[in-house]
Amino acid sequence: MSKRIGMEIALAAAEAAALCRPEVIAAYPITPNTHVPEHLSEIVAEGRLDAEFITVESEHSAMSACAGASGAGARSFTATSSQGLLYMAEILAIVSAMRLPVVMIIGNRALSGPLNIWNDHSDIMSQRDIGWISMFAANGQETVDMTIQAFKIAEHQDVMLPVNVNLDGFQLTHVVEPMFMPDQEEVDRFLPPFKPLAALDPDHPVTLGALGLPDIYAEACKSREVTLLNSKKVILEIWKEWEQQFGRKYEPIESYKTEGAEVLLMTMGSMGETAEMAIDELRQEGVKAGLLKLKLWRPFPFEELQKAVKGAKVLAVTDRCLSYGGAGGPLALEVRSALYAQKKRPAIVNYIIGLGGRDVMVDHFKDMISRAAKADTEKPKEAYEFYGVRG
């Protein structure tokens, strides 16, 4: 029976991962994510989880170890942030290409330059094209739920792709808050044992990690892409199963007070919760504003987005990351592309906010919405606005 507990979210994520009975955990600590692998190592040391915990010397080794373990048929797990994610970048591509269902928790932290350990989305966004399934948690409960869901999604026979669960570093990882933690029996019921496509076994040899010449590479890419796009169907099914078993609903884009909304705000991650307060206040003041909280980043939910923005005049997309030298933040870029072919679409305004852990507050959201509201009649001069930047 699920218990209502109070726990630091990073520790809760570790507990949730442990409930999924990973067999190999290879991880390297990095602020703000450290408590996830650290607590898992405690759980293994206490004998609560029978797993091989490999204390690797780098994140590159961590993901390599997970790839090897997954290739040998073991359920594998790791966790990292920021520079650690970049350090394992070359293996990320390989893990998804090889269809190894590794699960990873990312405590989103800004990429260095200047060195910054606080929250933004630049780490995962730098790896957005690499073929992993990506989900964003907005609070402790979603972190716990998505971690458990991630294993089931990754290991589904029609998916067999790695999954990362993103939670905002510090803003979520270091917060103690209430959440319902499922028990082992419930998770065992939800998550069946791992059955890989192929496992390295001297008695039944296979080749994993083959070479692909130019005349086959594109076909291999298409096969991978089709699988990733089709995984959305499986994700929705698994979210339905979750709702039936645990009573909590998940959808790719959660709409908040969007009925009759003329201006919509879109967020990813924990700032969406603060944004809800802004919407509440604006609605009280008679402003027809609504909020879209994106939970599924890859595969991108095109249909759900098109449906969610119907009828709105303006969509203000907030990005906690900037695509340098491009036309704004990754979410806005994705949204603009997703809506380009639509005959009727809202005017899109893009705000870059919260970089490097800068607080995003209720008043900021209200200000963004009130200024974006004119975007359908007065075209904004810039493709995006660096909100709140001094100078």
């Binding site: 496509l197 192929a198 080749t207 594109a218 076909e219 291999a220 096969s223 699988t227």
Partner: protein, 96 residues
């Protein structure tokens, strides 16, 4: 020469490009084109096995009597075995 079965359409590509059938590299005969091939003079051979160790293709094997020969399905005629054979038991002979 064994028949190669390559996937043509994207639907035929194995997931993750996994090769499920073991030993598939045996189907790829690398010895179909050669300028020269190695010939062993067993009267000079001292059965040291250096040719077997150095062959980059791994196609030299030991027979029941302890002498060595190359599997010509895979031998590319690189001549490393002849170069390494210090008793000079191996001679590279031109292919017709």
């Amino acid at each position: 020469m064994a028949e190669k079965k390559w996937p043509e359409d994207w639907q035929e590509v194995n997931p993750g490009c996994i090769v499920f059938r073991p030993g598939s590299s045996r189907d790829y005969h690398t010895g179909t084109w050669r300028a020269e091939r190695p010939v062993w003079d067993n009267s000079r051979c001292i059965k040291c096995g250096l040719c077997y160790i150095f062959c980059p293709e791994g196609c030299i094997s030991e027979d029941a009597d302890g002498y060595f020969a190359a599997d010509l399905n895979y031998c590319k005629g690189c001549g490393i075995c002849a170069h390494e054979c210090w008793p000079l038991a191996i001679k590279m002979v031109e292919e017709e």
